[in-house]
């Protein structure tokens, strides 16, 4: 899945780069109250885990092995904002240090795996969780479905990017069906591995699984007098986190729509892309009669100033979209802060914090913050 340089044309690479930078910026803001509050060390180590998990070979049978992509798994384990951030860091390290994934394709790779992969996995898992019984173990089948769908969805996003800025005229229908077919198969493997890894995590530390928070049963203490007392598994702040979660869904849907709008805006702003799509679709019907000499490649061969127009238009379109998305995120975070009132810092920290074991660290963090003020 790691795209190299030259797979997508320069305007598309730059546009997805801007898109990815914006998504990472929003995730940084969002994660500051979650994983960021738990410290960069924790985030860095989870990134190490994702990197290492991609190196684990799973026997698939018939002498074949596979490995994890990890977008959906990261979203389920640490949440979508932190998941995007962590995938971006992993892809950056892979691109800069290991030449795995092109440097100019970094934006495309973050868009496909860090945004589409993480968010589709997260949203599908949340949707499935809503219909499953409220048990911690429900996270395993829910995440399996999320992981399964996240792979073909990322593949479809790739087909969309290829339609806008692909380097060779492949019939789009054929490309989409080939990508979908192959990635449905890969998705099955991704689902199995994600489910197996989550089973192991839920067995030992269910409190670490971001999406399983609020699913744990309350502790029932029966006194000597026979009176039952319920001790909630989650603290009050964790409940606040769940409410924040539903708002995060609405926000993410809005952002997804805006991003979709941005891509189409880019497509309509870039004659290269549209001509390309039209030509490839046209070729499908006209078979080999059509001469390419006057087709899209005639346009492809005139770079320089002429090509700067659509690039600039595309970038402006993406920037506008990003501005809108950032504004939505800003408004949403403002509103969440005002509804939570003065206790917002504590609630925000606790909501996505590391559970009971890191409670002292959270306290001391807020203490230092207060001290500085």
């Amino acid at each position: 899945m790691h795209l190299p340089d030259g797979f997508l044309d320069a305007p598309t690479s730059i546009a997805t780069g801007v898109l990815a930078a914006g998504a990472v910026a929003i995730s940084l803001r969002k994660a500051e109250r979650g994983l960021g509050a738990a410290g960069p060390a924790l985030a860095g180590l989870v990134a190490c885990f994702v990197f290492a998990a991609q190196m684990v070979n799973f026997p698939v049978g018939a002498g074949t092995s596979g490995h994890l992509l990890g977008g959906a798994l990261a979203a389920v384990l640490v949440g979508p904002w932190a998941g995007t951030l962590i995938l971006a860091v992993v892809l950056l390290v892979q691109g800069v240090f290991f030449a795995d994934g092109g440097l100019t394709a970094l934006g495309s790779n973050i868009t496909l795996m860090g945004i589409v992969g993480v968010w589709s996995g997260y949203l599908v898992t949340r949707a499935v969780l809503a219909v499953l019984p409220k048990r911690v173990t429900s996270i395993v089948p829910a995440a399996a479905i999320g992981a399964f769908l996240s792979v073909p969805l990322a593949a479809l996003a790739f087909v969309a990017l290829y339609a806008i800025g692909g380097a060779a005229p492949i019939p789009l229908g054929a490309l989409a069906s080939a990508m979908l077919g192959w990635h449905l198969l890969i998705g099955v493997g991704e689902a199995l591995i994600t489910a197996a890894v989550l089973t192991a995590v839920v067995a030992s530390r269910p409190d670490l699984v971001y999406l399983a928070r609020g699913l744990r049963p309350d502790l029932v203490v029966v006194g000597a007098d026979g009176v039952e007392r319920r001790v909630p598994a989650e603290t009050a702040s964790a409940g606040g986190g769940r409410r924040l979660g539903s708002r995060a869904i609405a926000l993410s849907l809005a952002v997804t729509l805006l991003i979709g709008g941005g891509l189409s805006l880019l497509a309509s702003a870039s004659p290269d892309g549209l001509e390309h799509v039209a030509a490839t679709l046209g070729f499908e019907h006209l078979a080999t009669e059509h001469a390419t000499a006057t087709g899209p490649f005639a346009d492809y061969d005139i770079p320089g100033l002429g090509a700067l127009g659509p690039v600039a238009a595309g970038i402006v379109g993406v920037l506008l979209t990003l501005g809108l998305a950032l504004a939505v995120g800003w408004v949403a975070s403002r509103r969440s802060r005002s509804t939570l009132g003065s206790g917002s810092t504590g609630a925000g920290t606790g909501s996505t914090g590391a559970g009971s074991s890191s409670a002292p660290s959270e306290t001391s963090t807020s203490d230092t913050t207060t001290g500085r003020r």
Binding site: P4, D5, G6, F7, D9, A25, L28, G39, P40, A41, L42, A43, L45, A47, C48, F51, A52, M55, V56, N57, F58, V60, G63, S65, G66, H67, V93, Q94, F97, F98, D100, G102, L103, V151, A167, A168, P169, I170, P171, A178, I186, G189, V197, T199, A200, V201, S204, R205, L208, F283, E284, T288, T292, F297, D301, A354, S357, S358, S361, T369
Partner: protein, 294 residues
């Protein structure tokens, strides 16, 4: 998940863990075999320690130069073979100046192998007029586009290899910090790089423990044990992250890391030197597009 035909060799785990000794102090990162490419030679770090002009350039200068170079390469129109030949010569010049062994560059280029397969399929699936090559009918545009993509990807991979081979990880972080990467992101990157050898070492030890109990891998029934390893790896990494964070708090961490690295500002002379590669590439592109006929 990527499917790979062949015995599950745990090449990745070996590649990563075999060189746990290659620490950041000596500027090494564990090998990233990525599971499916047998990069071999796990004892080899990423950085080739030499003292050349390229090594001495500040990382931010090299990062910008490499990205600019690859961007020009990507922007080159399909089928301009002459331009690609000049780019390759320019890049080969940098490899020679940086004293990066050609053998090492070739071995690390194996990372591109899955993509070569895609580029090789392209002539058969692309649309457009067909031509006969060795008796097989292929798409002419697909052939040209596939070859162009392969060239661009190869140039990009080699440029990234040279960057990694001439820049120590901590210098790269300093460079990214100088390029205004957000502080939290730089901090995450620095912790990831510091603990990568530890976490892959953890993975390696768990694999050794599993295999010493008779699970030598390869059978589907053992996938659950492998998944258990990955699950424990997450719990271990997470808990290690918590411990590190608490240790930081105990030492007075209040949300800001002290300067992680001591990157220095680049001099104008160094910018000019590094810019020579992308500028020469750009001049080549303009010359080939405007002067040389198709």
């Amino acid at each position: 998940m990527t499917l790979v035909v062949g015995p599950p060799s745990h090449a990745g785990a070996q590649g990563g863990a075999g060189e746990g000794s290659g620490t950041l102090a000596s500027g090494h990162l564990p090998g990233h075999a990525h599971g499916h490419v047998g990069l071999g030679a796990p004892e080899e770090g990423l950085l080739v320690i030499r003292d050349t002009v390229v090594h001495r350039l500040p990382a931010q200068v090299k990062l910008v130069a490499v990205v600019a170079f690859v961007l020009v390469v990507v922007a080159t129109p399909t089928g301009r073979w002459g331009a690609f030949a000049v780019y390759a010569l320019l890049l080969a010049g940098v490899v020679a100046v940086a004293h990066v062994p050609a053998r090492l560059v070739l071995r690390r280029m194996l990372i591109e192998v899955p993509f070569v397969v895609f580029a090789a399929v392209l002539p058969f699936v692309a649309s457009g007029p067909r031509v006969e090559v060795l008796g097989v009918s292929v798409s002419a545009t697909g052939l040209v586009a596939g070859a162009t993509m392969l060239l661009k990807a190869t140039l990009g991979v080699v440029a990234a290899i040279v960057l990694a081979a001439t820049t120590a990880p901590r210098e790269m972080l300093a460079g990214l910090e100088r390029l205004r990467l957000p502080a939290l992101l730089v901090a995450m990157l620095s912790f990831m790089i510091r603990y990568l050898a530890v976490v892959t070492g953890d993975l390696h030890r768990m694999r050794v423990a599993r295999e010493s109990r008779g699970d030598t891998g390869g059978r589907v029934g053992q996938a659950a044990a492998v998944a258990g390893t990955a699950g424990s790896l997450f719990v271990r990494s997470y808990e290690r992250g918590e411990r590190v964070h608490q240790a930081m708090l105990a030492r007075g961490y209040a949300g800001h890391l002290p300067a992680l690295v001591s990157g220095r500002a680049a001099r104008a002379r160094e910018w000019a030197l590094a810019a020579s590669l992308p500028v020469a590439t750009l001049v080549t592109l303009v010359l080939f597009v405007s002067v040389v006929p198709r």
